[in-house]
Subunit: 167 residues, 2 copies
């Protein structure tokens, strides 16, 4: 499997746990994403507590699959240390690395957006007791895939490529 080409969003899980060593690898990959001016403005909250999962599911209508997953990672960015407006870009690169690292270790994962939704951000930031400068960016839900509807698809679209200039 090619993790870059074959990764898919996985929304159904077997319930099997994510091994601690795999979770550490996934977090290590997240921290290895680039940040503008190398500020490393991200942090990660690992969420295994089922009560927290239930509270997140109440806040985030597109994150219901968290109820069946062993673990989720909240990606946050520090407004006080980020370079200019790069918080969503830096946190998105880290989130993408989490998806890919989970795939590399044989898990399925899905990116649930928070940052662009003010109401959702407010509720998540309150739930996690984030300080004012720490902004909730995304929640990635991770588990062993139980999604039999998922098959590898080819994302190649020649019309997405242009040469030298927009035409």
């Amino acid at each position: 499997m090619d993790i870059l080409l074959d990764r898919r969003s996985i929304r159904k899980y077997t319930g099997d746990d994510v091994k601690q060593e795999d979770l550490n690898y996934i977090l290590h990959a997240a921290m290895s994403a680039p940040t503008a001016k190398n500020t490393k403005c991200y942090s990660f909250v690992v969420i295994k507590n089922k009560n927290m999962h239930k509270k997140i599911a109440k806040i985030h209508k597109y994150a219901q699959m968290i109820l069946e997953a062993p673990v989720a990672i909240l990606v946050v960015g520090d407004q006080n240390i980020v370079y200019k407006g790069y918080l969503p870009q830096d946190c998105a690169a880290a989130t993408q690395n989490i998806l890919l690292a989970a795939t590399a270790k044989g898990y399925g994962a899905v990116w649930c957006g928070i940052y662009s939704n003010k109401e959702r951000s407010k509720n998540i930031e309150k739930l996690f007791k984030l300080p004012k400068n720490i902004k909730a960016f995304s929640i990635v839900i991770i588990g062993k895939s139980d999604d039999s509807s998922i098959h590898v698809k080819n994302n190649w679209q020649i019309e997405k490529i242009k040469y030298e200039i927009w035409k």
Copy 2:
């Protein structure tokens, strides 16, 4: 080499070309990044023309290494089809996949930001004759690494990880 853990920003190149099949792989990886609501709002402009490289170097002070590189990719997002405010997030995931795919194929690459800088965005959008709805996001510069100062470093920082709640 583990592409997720060992990728670094590479800013010096040998001048050797990037093979077309590798470039296609890199673009394929870019298109395989997730987008919110699967809008696939990204497009990619491949830039090999040295005159264009010179014009980009004039606009973007942190992209001077483009003058020595065989190829660069401009990542853009379509404001007309993106889901809500997710343009920087979607384009950042695609940009991160470009960096990783270049690394996987034995090249070095660096992410040069555009989107959060209004003046730079305006000038790049004018240079590439982008329609109003197409927003310049980033330029990734790619080449065979000639950066002997680059060594693998460990990005692991235990203090970036929290459990269940912010403390």
